[in-house]
């Protein structure tokens, strides 16, 4: 029983970070119908800024610069590349993001050289014991930060002008434009927010507690591992991103112990496939209706 509880605790902690990552995918998809495959490189970029700046300006300052930097990179990608091809198919734009991803990732991996820096200085490897259960501090902080950010996002989405504009655009792009919603601004903000979330997520990913590895190509792979979380939750559903993230964390932890470590990796995708068979738009995704 203790093992089961510990595994659930491990899974929930990781799930919170996967939810943050999945939310990044969802926000951009909702606003633009583009799947942003460059999300992993935004995560790496934020982490790289922290690594390069923390010795000169301290960890906290570097962490803030990292988060903002990742957001700005996302904004630049959107403004320079995607906004110039407004008429392009979302499918082609997704391919474009793969190009951005490869370039940014390879350059950062090259710059990192042989170092594998851990960047969760404030919370990493400082576990808290409660009864016989170990709570990893990184997971706890991630859970709190994810809850706060996701709640803020939900509120903004529901009540702010930007949220309403984004929902309108997601519903019907032409109609939204006709009523005067500035599509460019909505899209740019979505990219900025997704980038900020990537910058926050990396502070939890490149830690001993979460990934067991410092900032590296592996960090990028983990960011992309949140993709099934976004898909199984429903690519256009923010609630789905949270549910998907938690599901991925739990499935991974429980399958590792109760089946096998090797199976755990495919288990996440297996769950994704089962969900898609039953609900083709994901757990909370909008069903596409087509008139015939």
């Amino acid at each position: 029983m203790e093992t089961f509880v510990q595994l659930v605790v491990n899974g929930l902690g990781k799930g919170a970070v996967f939810a943050l990552l999945a939310l990044g995918f969802v926000i951009i998809f909702k606003a633009t119908e583009v799947v942003n495959f460059a999300h992993g490189s935004l995560v790496l970029f934020g982490g790289y800024l922290v690594v390069t700046l923390r010795d000169s300006i301290g960890w906290a300052g570097a962490a803030i610069v990292g988060v903002v930097g990742a957001g700005l990179l996302a904004l630049v990608v959107e403004r320079l590349l995607l906004s110039r091809s407004k008429l392009a198919d979302p499918f082609s734009l997704a391919l474009l993001t793969i190009g951005v991803d490869v370039i940014v990732t390879e350059e950062i991996v090259r710059r990192l050289g042989v170092s594998l820096p851990f960047i969760g200085d404030a919370w990493d490897a400082k576990p808290i014991q409660v009864g016989g259960i170990t709570l990893f501090r990184t997971h706890l902080v991630a859970l709190v930060v994810a809850t706060v950010l996701i709640t803020l996002f939900f509120l903004a989405f529901r009540y702010s002008n930007w949220g309403i504009a984004m929902r309108a655009q997601a519903e019907n792009k032409e109609a939204a434009a006709l009523v005067g919603i500035r599509s460019g601004r909505v899209t740019a903000t979505a990219w900025l927010v997704a980038g900020l979330l990537a910058g926050v997520a990396v502070l939890f990913i490149a830690t001993q507690d979460f990934s067991g590895a410092g900032l590296s190509r592996g960090t990028h792979s983990i960011a992309l591992a949140a993709f099934p979380a976004a898909i199984l939750g429903g690519l256009d559903s923010t609630a789905g991103a949270v549910a998907g993230g938690i599901t991925v964390g739990l499935v991974d932890a429980l399958a590792t112990h109760y089946v096998s470590f090797a199976f755990a990796k495919s288990a996440v995708f297996l769950v994704m496939l089962v969900v898609l068979v039953v609900r083709p738009s994901g757990l909370f995704g909008t069903r596409e209706t087509t008139r015939v």
């Binding site: 093992t3 170092s115 016989g132 001993q208 590895a213 590792t256 898609l276």
Partner: protein, 417 residues
């Protein structure tokens, strides 16, 4: 949604690079000093190949080995080279990827007399038949006893299976495990992990241990959930045939979860950079077994190499790869000198010289080696070391070279073959 899924699937596909082998026919001719020269040998130079990992999971150890190789090359060239020729290294990075190594091999093979370093079991497995058909002598930076089936392979040191057997024997001698205990073994898929596992299985059989085996891949990094399972199963020790990053994850989880059992690792499981990681405080339970000395070893030859390493001004912190890389190159020096005496620096000549070199003096950087038994590890002696951040190389001896009775009796896969 369908298109998105299709795109996701498409992005997961990667084109496999397919290497085709180069000519491989050896051009020979009589060169300077009446010595027959072969591939990679000119009147002025002998070029040796280094296929290393500068960007993958073993990049730190590999960089240490390469620096060890380079230090020896510098020394030997300063004293006039070998056979009147300077020794040169041709270095390529395969990033611990067999497909990359397979593509690089045909480019580097026609330039070198042999390979002083090929890092990684998966890479050796991919190149073994090429190396054999090209008659290229190779010292792999991989210590699997499965490699000993190839006559052109010279493993400097003992093998992973023997390391595990000796290490388990040490834990038992120290009273940390006893017959009938449950022990967990985390190992990387492929030859490295399989060979370590071969050793732990052998020892478990001898001592009725209940072995819980968990297979992982070299890119997995978070092993917390595995250690959580081990805790539930009541393991008394954790065995590792993994990368250093994975060692860090296990050590951190071992402490965080309050399991606190000894961890026994094969020689590539430790990297001094772990002392700078968040797992640093959890390394006191780690024991590493190897047959080449740690960088901080108190022997004259090691002190000499350490001095040279410092002088060379390398930016990377030193590790156990440095003395190993130096020792291997020194063995190569002995082989090349022998080939020179035989007036034959062709690959066949080098291989013949290797077989005639029954012991090479490495100044005790590596346990005494005996290559006279085909298929058997050249030594079964190991030392046990523990991490210590205060010494250069980050590791200190806790037990000097020894051979356990179980290791002595053990039959390696190609032994006597």
């Amino acid at each position: 949604m369908k298109r998105i899924l299709a795109l996701a699937c498409a992005s997961a596909l990667a084109l496999a690079a397919c290497g085709t082998k180069g000519g491989g026919s050896e051009e020979t001719g009589e060169g300077a000093g009446g010595v027959q020269a072969g591939v990679g040998v000119t009147d002025s130079d002998i070029t040796l190949g280094v296929m290393t990992d500068q960007t993958g999971p073993f990049k730190n150890l590999s960089t240490g080995i390469t620096h060890g190789n380079e230090l020896w090359v510098k020394d030997v060239n300063a004293s006039g080279g070998v056979c009147g020729r300077d020794v040169k290294l041709e270095i390529v990075d395969h990033g611990y990827k067999a497909d990359t190594a397979k593509t690089l091999y045909p480019q580097i093979e026609p330039k070198v007399a042999g390979f002083v370093q090929v890092v990684g079991s998966p890479i050796m497995a991919a190149l073994s038949s090429d190396l054999e058909s090209d008659e290229a002598t190779v010292t792999p930076a991989s210590w699997s006893s499965e490699l000993l089936g190839n006559p052109y392979v010279m493993v400097v040191g003992t093998t992973y299976d023997v390391e595990m057997i000796d290490g388990l024997s040490y834990l038992q001698e120290q009273g940390k495990i006893k017959d009938g205990d449950t022990v967990g073994h985390i190992y990387i898929d492929g030859e490295y992990g399989a060979n370590g596992l071969r050793g732990s299985r052998y020892y478990a059989e001898q001592h009725n241990l209940n072995l819980r085996e968990v297979k992982i891949t070299s890119s997995d990094t978070d092993l917390t959930n595995i250690v959580t399972g081990f805790k539930g199963a009541g393991v008394k020790a954790i065995l590792l045939t993994t990368t250093p990053t994975q060692t860090g994850s296990v050590a951190a989880a071992n402490e965080a979860l309050g399991l606190n059992v000894p961890i026994l690792g094969n020689n590539p499981t430790f990297d001094p950079l772990l002392h700078d990681s968040p797992a640093a405080g959890a390394l006191d339970k780690l024991y590493v077994v190897a047959s080449s000395v740690p960088f901080s070893a108190d022997i004259p030859k090691m002190k000499e190499v350490a001095g040279k390493y410092e002088k060379a001004g390398y930016s990377e912190p030193p590790n156990a790869g440095v003395p190993y890389g130096y020792a291997v190159a020194e063995v190569w020096g002995a082989v090349l000198r022998k080939a020179c005496e035989n007036k034959d620096l062709t690959r066949a000549g080098i291989h013949k010289a290797l077989q005639e070199t029954t012991s090479a003096d490495t100044g005790d950087l590596v346990a005494k080696l005996d290559f006279s038994q085909p298929g058997a590890p050249a030594t079964r002696q190991v030392y046990v070391a523990q991490p210590d951040a205060s010494v250069p190389g980050g590791m200190k001896y806790v037990k000097p070279l020894f051979e356990s009775p179980e290791a002595k009796e053990y039959q390696a896969p190609h032994q006597g073959g």
